[in-house]
Structure formats: C-alpha cells, structure tokens
C-alpha cells in the first residue's frame, strides 16, 4: 500500500521549520555574533577577532572554568560512589525497596529552585541546620556559602543530593543486567566481595558509569540557578559558573557578541571533554 509522495514531508515539515528557526539559524548567527560588538539597540559593529582575544585574557572566564572543574572533581566521584553504594544495597533482597527508591528519587523531580532555596537555609552560617548539627557534635561552624573555598564544594554536594536518585535507578537497572551465573562461578572459585565487585560488577556497569560521567559533566557546565539564587556567583566569584557568566555578560551588560563567544567556546569545551571521556572509558573496558 503506497502513500502519496508528499505526505512524509508534510509530516516532518514542523521539525524542519523548527530546526531552521531554533537550531540552524541560532548556530550560524552565534558564529557571526562572535565577530561583532552589539548591545541589541545600536547597530552591530564588526570587530574582527577581538572577542576571541578578550576571551583568553579574561580572568572571569578562566575563573568560571576552574570553578566548573572544582565542581566536577567533587560532584562526579561523589555521585558515582553514593549512587553505586545505595544501588548495591537496593539490589539485595530488601523489603520496602519501592519506598526507598521513591524516597531517594524525590529530589530529582522537585524544581532546582526549591532545592536551592531550601539548601540556602540549611547552609546558613549562624542558624543553618547543618552548622547547628556540627555545633551540637562539638565541631566548629563551616562557612558553607560564605567561605570562597567552601562555596563551590557546597553547591557540588547539594547537586549530588538532588541528582543522585536518578543515578541510583540507572545503576540498579545496570546491576540487574549482570547475569547471576557470573557471581556463582566466582563463588565457586572462592572470590571475595571486593574481587567480585571489581572483576564482574564494574566492567558490566561500565556503560552506566560513562553515562553518569557524561550527564554530570554536561550538568556542571549548565550550572546556573544554584549559584544565581544562593550566591550570585560570589563570594569572590568562587561560584561563578559558565552559564551564569554567559548570562551576566548577555543580560547585565548587554555584551551580546562577547556573550555569544563565551557560549560558543563553552559548547566546544563540553563536546571535547565528553569526547575525551568517551575515549578514556572505552579504553578502560
């Protein structure tokens, strides 16, 4: 049974229209913008590669990259360890598994705005719940959001709390695909828990680990609402994230050309970091 020739094109035409308007045009226009100076109101002004030159002398740009690295270095391992640990336990014969799963997952579905406003209070210096707990344990206060060396790690901890539920589920799915017979064979050879974990579980869930690393990396470069609400990028720019910096250049100063240059550069950075991670993890296999 043949359908009329034009019908498939009619059906995909909304996508083509969308692609031209919201993907192709913006990508091309963003490259053009990087060679121009523009505040939207006055006419665009061609300035050659000045935006690119500025990029490599911009201390805030470098700061936003180091901040992202700090975030990722804490967030990724923490997330993998916590998620794998809880998933391993949930994978045992456990009652109320559904309840625990649902509880761990709750922060995932709640808006980042809610989580950030809530944690801003938990991290409060004088009366925040976390410092009150530390004091009652006889320890000193931590300047979670006021100490420049603590602020980004604090955001990384919060982000882990928010996202880890999703990764618990993904690891759980991954663990359940490992054939039981592998473990039985290892038991026969007298392997201990650690050996079984290292030689059977880890290689089998490698694809899941890769996914967690990639999704967390993209998340780190997309960090925005957390520093925007909690710290405004401070103290001393210690939480200035990539997207927050794009936002500030674009919508505080109306430097559209430079802001687009930042966006283009961060996008290329994300793609190359993910490509490197892919190479690295595939080699590990």
């Amino acid at each position: 049974m043949k359908t009329k020739k034009y019908i498939p094109y009619l059906l995909v035409s909304p996508y083509i229209l969308y692609f031209i308007l919201f993907v192709a045009y913006p990508v091309v226009f963003s490259v053009i913008l990087t060679f121009n100076k523009w505040n939207i109101i006055s006419p665009m002004q061609y300035i050659g590669i000045a935006n690119y030159k500025r990029l490599f002398q911009d201390a805030f740009f470098l700061k936003s990259i180091t901040n992202t690295i700090i975030f990722l270095v804490i967030h990724i391992p923490l997330q993998i360890i916590v998620a794998l640990f809880l998933a391993e336990i949930l994978n045992q014969k456990i009652r109320f598994r559904g309840f625990f799963r649902a509880a761990f997952f709750l922060p995932v579905i709640v808006s980042g705005v809610v989580v950030t406003i809530l944690w801003q209070q938990l991290y409060g210096f004088e009366t925040g719940l976390l410092n009150r707990v530390l004091i009652s344990l006889g320890l000193g206060r931590v300047g979670w959001l006021v100490d420049p060396s603590w602020a980004m790690p604090s955001i990384a901890i919060m982000a882990t709390w928010k996202n880890v539920g999703l990764y618990i589920i993904l690891f759980l799915v991954g663990l359940q695909t490992v054939p039981k017979i592998y473990y039985e064979a290892a038991d026969l050879e007298g392997a201990n828990h650690w050996q079984k974990f290292k030689n059977i579980t880890l290689p089998m869930i490698n694809p899941t680990i890769f996914m967690v690393v990639v999704l967390s990396t993209i998340g780190g470069f997309s960090l925005f609402i957390e520093p925007y609400i909690m710290t405004g990028g401070g103290p001393l720019n210690s939480t200035l994230s990539a997207v927050l910096y794009i936002y500030k250049q674009g919508f505080f100063y109306y430097h559209m050309g430079y802001s687009a240059t930042l966006g283009l550069f961060f996008a290329l950075l994300i793609l190359s970091v993910v490509a490197i991670q892919k190479k690295f993890i595939e080699r590990e296999k």
Partner: protein, 269 residues
C-alpha cells in the same frame, strides 16, 4: 546481621533525602523567630508566611502561567513528535536518514551555543514578554521524536495495513491507531516534557520581565533573590513549598511512572 546493617543504611539514606523537605514545610508554617532553632515541630503552627507571600507576589497567576505553558508544550510535543516519529519509522522517503541524523546531532548540541541567538530571535519576532517566547521554542523535542520513532517501530505492520484498507489517512493512523497502542510512550514523553517545562527557569528569566507573565519558578526565584522577601526565611520557604507542591502531589500518585520515565531518558542517552 548484614541485613540489619543494610536497613539501617537505607533508613539513614531515606532520612537524608526526606527530612530536608519535611523541615522546609514545617519551617514555612512556623513563626519567623522560631525557624533559627527549628528541628522538629515549632511551638505553634501559623499561616502568616503564606499570607505575606500571597500579598507580595501574584503567585496564583504564575501557577496558571506555568500550568498553561507546560500543558501546551506537552500537548505540542506529543502531537508533533508523534507525527515526525511516525514518518521516520513507518514511511519511506528520500532524506529520511538525513533528518534522523540531524535530530541526533541536535540532541548533542549544548544549549550554551544557542542561548544568546535564540534570545535575539525572540527580540526580532517581538515575542519578548509574550507566551509565544515561553512556548514555541519548546514545541519540538528531539528526544521525544526519537522515543516515538523507537516505539512506533515495534507496532505490527498488519495493524497499519488494516487501517489503510479501511481508508484511514495518515493522521487518523497516528492518532486513532498508533496512539491507543502507544500509551507507555505517551506517558513517558508526557511526564518528561511536562516536568522539564514546569521546572525550566533560565529561559523565562531571559524572555519575560512582566510579573504577570512569569512562570512559577521564575517568579519565586526573583522573589527570593530580590528584596521582596525582605530576607524573611519563612516567606521564602513558603514560596518554595508552593512551587514543590504540585509536582510532589503528582509524584505521590504516579511515582512508578515518574521513575521509569526519567530512567528511560537516561538510558536512551
């Protein structure tokens, strides 16, 4: 013995994930001066934080805006996504693979690159401070198309052939034949899309400045960051609680679907 340790660890974990939310709700119902040392229950519960919040921001209106925008986006993604997904999975035409690869490519494209030019596009179209800016750029979703395409592939050809013999057109096939047989895909894509647009905040912050068009997360963000909350914790937490409430309520009833939907997007990527 080992079992007991597992249960203790899991319970501790559950407390770490649940207690902060409990604290947030309790704090929003406490007198302002008790929040600083609140751990379990205040001496009295009061709605004063909620009353203050209601008098300061148009939260009802923002709830309507969020609901309106998210519903239309979800409906659009389901209708348009299934049209494209159907063409890509069940019809033969030149350029089909090209379009498929283009869609895959757009999925890997970081949004950082399109953020500024998309805003400029909104300015040029005159869409700043309109619902159009909130809705139109989200009506298509690459992940949705890919998931529909995948799901439609699994539906038996006989079903489609029978419908064609009965004289069904393509749209009728999609919405009368495929949809009733694709409920899991519709639920999954519907939930992910609705949640993503309900929780979106960066884009509204960029394209909406008028209080009365703001979405709920945007309004509450600006309320919390700006001076309007007058650094009263209770009022901020009341606003955050209101924002969490609709999604948490939905989650309580459809928890299984939420978890499965979100997990399936992770697996697809």
């Amino acid at each position: 013995m080992r079992r007991t340790i597992f249960y203790i660890l899991l319970t501790l974990g559950a407390l770490i994930f649940l207690y902060p939310f409990f604290w947030m709700v309790i704090a929003s119902l406490s007198p302002e001066n008790q929040i600083g040392n609140l751990t379990f229950l205040p001496s009295m519960l009061t709605l004063s934080s909620y009353k203050q919040m209601l008098s300061k921001i148009p939260i009802g209106r923002s709830f309507f805006n969020s609901l309106f925008v998210s519903s239309i986006i979800t409906f659009g993604v389901l209708v348009l996504g299934s049209m494209v997904g159907y063409a890509l999975s069940r019809l033969e035409f030149r350029g089909r693979n090209l379009i498929f690869y283009v869609i895959i490519f757009t999925m890997t494209l970081p949004f950082q690159i399109t953020l500024i030019p998309q805003y400029i596009l909104m300015v040029k179209l005159g869409w700043v401070d309109t619902y159009w800016a909130l809705i139109v750029p989200y009506l298509m979703n690459a992940l949705g198309i890919i998931m529909f395409r995948q799901y439609f592939k699994s539906i038996p050809q006989d079903l489609l052939d029978a419908a064609r013999l009965d004289g069904c057109g393509e749209l009728k096939i999609i919405f009368k034949i495929l949809w009733p047989n694709s409920v899991p895909a519709l639920v999954t894509i519907g939930i992910i899309t609705f949640m993503a647009s309900w929780n979106e905040v960066l884009w509204p912050l960029i394209v909406i400045r008028n209080d009365h068009l703001m979405t709920m997360p945007q309004l509450i963000t600006l309320f919390s960051v700006g001076g309007a909350a007058e650094s009263q914790l209770g009022v901020k937490l009341a606003a955050a609680t209101m924002l969490a409430l609709p999604i948490v309520l939905a989650y309580l009833f459809f928890q299984k679907y939420f978890i499965e939907s979100m997990a399936s997007t992770g697996i697809k990527e």
